[in-house]
Point group: C2
Chain length 233, copies 2
DNA sequence: GCAATAGTGTCTTTAAGACAATATACT
DNA sequence: AGTATATTGTCTTAAAGACACTATTGC
């Protein structure tokens, strides 16, 4: 026990995903301070003395999006702790969280007033983020893709009321595949507790109006909705 | 930025699972120091200055079991950071790791010489562990149960060479269900890259000798081996 | 032969996938 | 009517589950 114990500061970084105009987007902020000043990064914040890291993440989420975290999906992705991931001292270790939001009006430039904005995930990955946020983003998106198979989180991308067509689009955009619409319809309506009809209908520009649904009580999908495995062509 | 940043110490705690005599067991240590002196706890250790937390976990694992972590399953379960989870100051936050080991001879009471021993998970949960380790253990076991469905981690419970009967027992013990042996046999032999025959056979006390296999190259099972969902009777 | 464990065959049931057909709106 | 979108029907295929049956050992 003679070896010194490393003390660190802890942050919660958020990967907030949403779908805008059929494109998967992530909320990014432009850093105002060093290190990486001016670069794009994931939003995040430091752990405070009276809270758990999960609470830190929930607080940051509501600061960034204005939504209360109670109703949003918020899930740990993992801990990122490479010694050189952040040049600051004491060492900064982060726990990444995945959050899923409906298509919000815009990230309210809150009291914090950082320049937060939605960026297509593909662009974020192309341009490169600060710290090890590229790796975090990649892991979080991969987690979302996997979770879509077994949990009812897809509804978190939609508003309170949504159509099966919208839910269908969520799966297609995030998985990057085409799914048969009739089969998808049967699958989600027959899955117990996934979605429940509200009674209303939403008119379409031209075409039959779609039945409206809201998220049901279930959190898991059984049987799961397996992502089509790409044929190893 | 006027609010003080909380500094913490970080630990990696290990949930090392194995199967002994058909019972799922976890490695526990008796604590020598306060807090919780004399109580049973999960093994773990503090982050050092030159390593990542994943490396801390790998180091602890090889110290406790004598196995090199390269070959063992080692996976983050989550971060546990409730402000009052540990009375020490500065605050102690832990990241729990799930490790899976074959039936080792015995935890070598290594240089560390703590009294480490295998304890059936059910007993550990009944008697209660130090800190929030009951919660960590529960989460880790639940993660193992889920991962068995989609990844090839079941082979990590077996030695280098094993029979399909042994693999079958792994699933039955961890899921706590009976699985049809003929169907299980077909399932695992037809799953690509899950197990490969070594060519050898293992004699049984009395009965037909079983073909020996070793772990194949695949890490994921496709299609997955879904855990039978308990009929909501 | 008998007991015991490993492994195969076959039938049934369930879920997934392809895709035709119908329903309900708007212009 | 014609177009567009939603929803239902039907057939085919793949996987899961039940369980009878065969195979190979020791005694």
């Amino acid at each position: 026990m003679s070896r010194p114990r490393q003390t660190v500061t802890l942050t919660a970084d958020l990967v907030i995903l949403t779908i805008r105009d059929g494109v998967l987007c992530v909320l990014v902020v432009e850093r105002g301070n060093e290190p990486f000043a001016g670069r794009l990064a994931l939003p995040g914040g430091f752990l405070r003395g009276d809270e758990s890291l999960d609470q830190t993440a929930a607080r940051e989420l509501s600061e960034e999006t204005g939504m209360n975290a109670e109703k949003l999906v918020l899930r740990q992705v993992g801990v990122y702790s490479a010694p050189d991931r952040d040049p600051r001292r004491p060492r900064v270790v982060t726990c990444a969280y995945l959050a899923i939001a409906p298509d919000l009006p815009l990230p309210a430039a809150g009291s914090d007033a950082r320049s937060a904005r939605w960026l297509p995930v593909a662009e974020a990955q192309r341009s490169g983020l600060a710290f090890d946020h590229d790796e975090i983003l990649r892991d979080a998106v991969e987690l979302a893709r996997a979770e879509l198979q077994f949990r009812t989180i897809a509804t978190a991308f939609c508003g309170d009321e949504f159509t099966i067509g919208e839910l269908h689009a969520v799966y297609e955009v995030i998985w990057g595949v085409k799914l048969d619409k009739p089969n998808f319809h049967r699958k989600v309506t027959e899955s117990d507790g996934f979605i429940v009809p509200t009674g209303g209908k939403r008119p379409t520009p031209n075409g039959r109006p779609a039945t409206l649904y809201r998220a049901g009580g279930a959190t898991t999908l059984s049987p799961p909705m397996m992502r089509p495995r790409s044929t190893g062509a």
